[in-house]
Amino acid sequence: MLGSAQAAPLDVEKDQLKLGFIKLTDMAPLAIAAEKGFFEDEGLSVTLEPQANWKVLLDRVISGELDGAHMLAGQPLGATIGFGTQANVVTAFSMDLNGNGITLSNEVWERMKPNLPTGPDGKPLHPIKADALKPVIAQYRAEGKPFTMGMVFPVSTHNYELRYWLAAGGINPGYYAPNDVSGQIQADALLSVTPPPQMPATLEAGTIFGYSVGEPWNQQAVMKGIGVPVITDTEIWKNNPEKVFGVTEGWAAKNPKTHLALVKALIRAAMWLDENNNANRAEAVKILAKSEYVGADAKVIANSMTGTFEYEKGDKRAVPDFNVFFRYNATYPFYSDAVWYLTQMRRWGQIAEAKPDSWYDETARKVYKPEIYLKAARLLVEEGKAKEADFPWASDGYKPLDEGFIDGIAYDGRKPNEYLTKLPIGLKGGQAVQGGQLVGG
């Protein structure tokens, strides 16, 4: 290509865009693309607008008030299969890996601590399993107190992670049914929706005893001394896919070049965030701390963004992969990631009936658009802004067998039904929830 670095921006259909986000550190690629001028390089003028909660955000993308948004990976999938709001939402860009944690209140932690194995330094051994929480929940029950926990949205990663962790420890987090979407059927621990920034306040008020949320809301709890993060999501599922960048199918069809330009800018932002072994993270923290982005105090954000995580106060450990934005092909929208989310929707009854393996693959292909991603990556390589070796050109969209789960159960995205049968608690085969009971099989 000639004069590669100076390639003219794409001739975009729409050059003024409004993108939504929730105040969480994993919206970083959007903030960085705006602050570092990556959007501008693509000929886009982008306004970033914080939203009140995940539902408002999704509704506004569907209604067209927002051109696109930082979304929970489950949202485009949930919307497409019609769980909650029905709309065709697609993604061509996965925003990050990991980035969440589960926090318990001080009281629960005190009761749970004696059940934990400790290392030679007297500190609890990590990862902490939910087995240690099981007797505590029984205690609460005996005292007549239902054990309540918070998560951010019914189709959120946080919901599925919390459920995965609890179920791996033998605690039933409850089922969804078509006529009961509270997700608390047969539950040992009652999970309910709380918007991320309100988590610490709700925990402090005693309405919930723990929560699963993204940063900085776990570190905030440590800082304020109101709770103890017990586990990060990378310990539940190593390098799990987290947020995606979502737009409606209609918007993508109408603005293909704009979409490509957006993905280009976002890939560059993700590269910047992980460049030179996270060298830019300190600067990123300063940008995220601005009131128009995440707005929390810089030292709270820095705790996780710079590769450490503070569990119990004073127990700061290295978690170099707490936030991954680019390495390990973090930004590529793998079909297998979509399929995992769909298996969890099926596992907990959000998908009420059994589906064949082919359905999982088809649904993933309807929502995840790696072809757009690769097109954007190709342009960046041609412009000299990215390295050829950084992208999985030959991938068929399925990651190899994944054994990075806390309970050691391996996941193969090509065989979702077989995977479901291996999970201890949850619907499998032709099972369904009827009248508060599991039936069929």
Partner: protein, 363 residues
């Protein structure tokens, strides 16, 4: 002789001075009424003192008008500064006056920084376009507006625009409807149940309906008004038109019967009657209604912005609450004071307007 003339000039000079003094006192009295309306009543005793009135009496007046409120304000600030640090929230102690004032400075600095960024953006754009044109004179260059974040001052302006739009829409509906209700018992009987039912509805109940209706009706890609702006404005309209409507109806129905009879004798046409007799006599009532409406509209707007995340001061408050940084509470307090102060000023503006139109500046 000489002594007589001296005495007469002396007395005429005295009379002149007395007359001037009386004139001054008269104009001061008139000014006092006007100052009172715009909220500067405390200036009157100062002016009187400067004009040579008894310092003792005016001093007492000054203490009443200025000293007492100021002392109360000081006491409030002292109580706030003392009590605030004793409440510990998960975001740290409640900020005192000093921290809040510091945030006023920060918000101002933010605003200026954003404006500097805006200027830099336009510079870059101009440079880029110039380069493009230099390379290829036929190149198609684009100029895009700056897409930075709205600053605190921008949010204030947005809120003011929205509240006035909603309020004016409301007035346009409420005044004619009120006149009709006041003039005709039948219309009044028809409207009454609707008014009674809709008046007490909270803005938060209207909002979802308005949002859905606006989203459904405004469908073009580049509407003249943003959907969020329309949602807020229409919610303000729905909540704020009732005081104007009711007051107008009461004002119109209580017009002196003799006046109406004179109108009939003169065989004035309907529209002339309304224009010449009804509106002028009901004006004080209408303005009282408008004042109440604007007050309600302002309160409603902030709530609507918070709930629907529409741009404006309400969104600023919610965003700061969600930020949960150590300066968030102080920033929210800045917004609280701003909202109160603007509400107060809006009321004063309406009052001054009312006084100018109706010559009855009652508070």
């Amino acid at each position: 002789m000489t002594s007589v003339t001296e005495a007469s000039t002396l007395s005429s000079a005295e009379a002149l001075r007395a007359r001037r003094k009386a004139r001054l006192a008269h104009s001061l009295n008139r000014a006092a009424a006007a100052l009172q309306i715009v909220g500067f009543g405390w200036l009157t005793p100062l002016l009187r003192m400067a004009a040579g009135d008894s310092p003792r009496q005016q001093g007492r007046e000054l203490w009443q008008q200025m000293g007492v409120p100021l002392t109360a304000l000081m006491l409030f600030l002292a109580a706030w500064a003392w009590l605030a640090p004793q409440v510990n929230t998960s975001l740290g102690a409640i900020p005192g006056p000093a921290q809040v004032w510091e945030q006023v400075g920060n918000l101002h600095a933010d605003h200026q920084a954003e404006r500097a960024k805006e200027a830099a953006f336009y510079d870059r754009q101009a440079k880029r376009n110039a380069e493009l044109l230099a390379k290829d004179p036929a190149a198609e260059v684009k100029s895009r507006p700056y897409a930075g974040k709205p600053t605190y001052l921008d949010q204030i302006v947005t809120s003011l625009k929205t509240v006035f739009t909603g309020f004016l829409l409301g007035a346009l509906v409420a005044v004619p409807l009120g006149v009709a209700c006041g003039l005709s018992r039948t219309v009044n009987a028809a409207m009454n149940p609707l008014i009674q039912i809709f008046k007490p509805v909270s803005p938060l109940a209207w909002l979802p309906l308005v949002t859905m209706v606006v989203s459904a009706t405004v469908s073009s890609d580049n509407p003249t008004f943003e959907k969020s702006f329309l949602t807020s404005a229409v919610t303000v309209t729905l909540c704020s038109l009732w005081p104007t409507l009711i007051n107008t109806a009461v004002g119109v129905s209580s017009i002196d019967k003799d006046l109406m009879n004179v109108g009939k004798v003169l065989q004035l046409s309907g529209p002339t009657m309304v224009r010449r007799l009804v509106l002028p006599s009901a004006l004080p009532y209408i303005f009282t209604g408008l004042r109440l409406s604007l007050g309600v509209g302002w309160m409603v707007l902030i709530a609507a912005e918070m709930l629907a995340q529409n741009p404006g001061l309400g969104k600023f408050v919610w965003d700061e609450f969600q930020n949960g940084s150590s300066s968030s509470l102080a920033r929210i307090m800045v917004a609280v004071f701003t909202i109160g102060l603007i509400g107060f000023l809006l009321d004063r503006v309406m009052l001054a307007f009312q006084a100018a139109v109706s010559h009855t500046g009652t508070r």
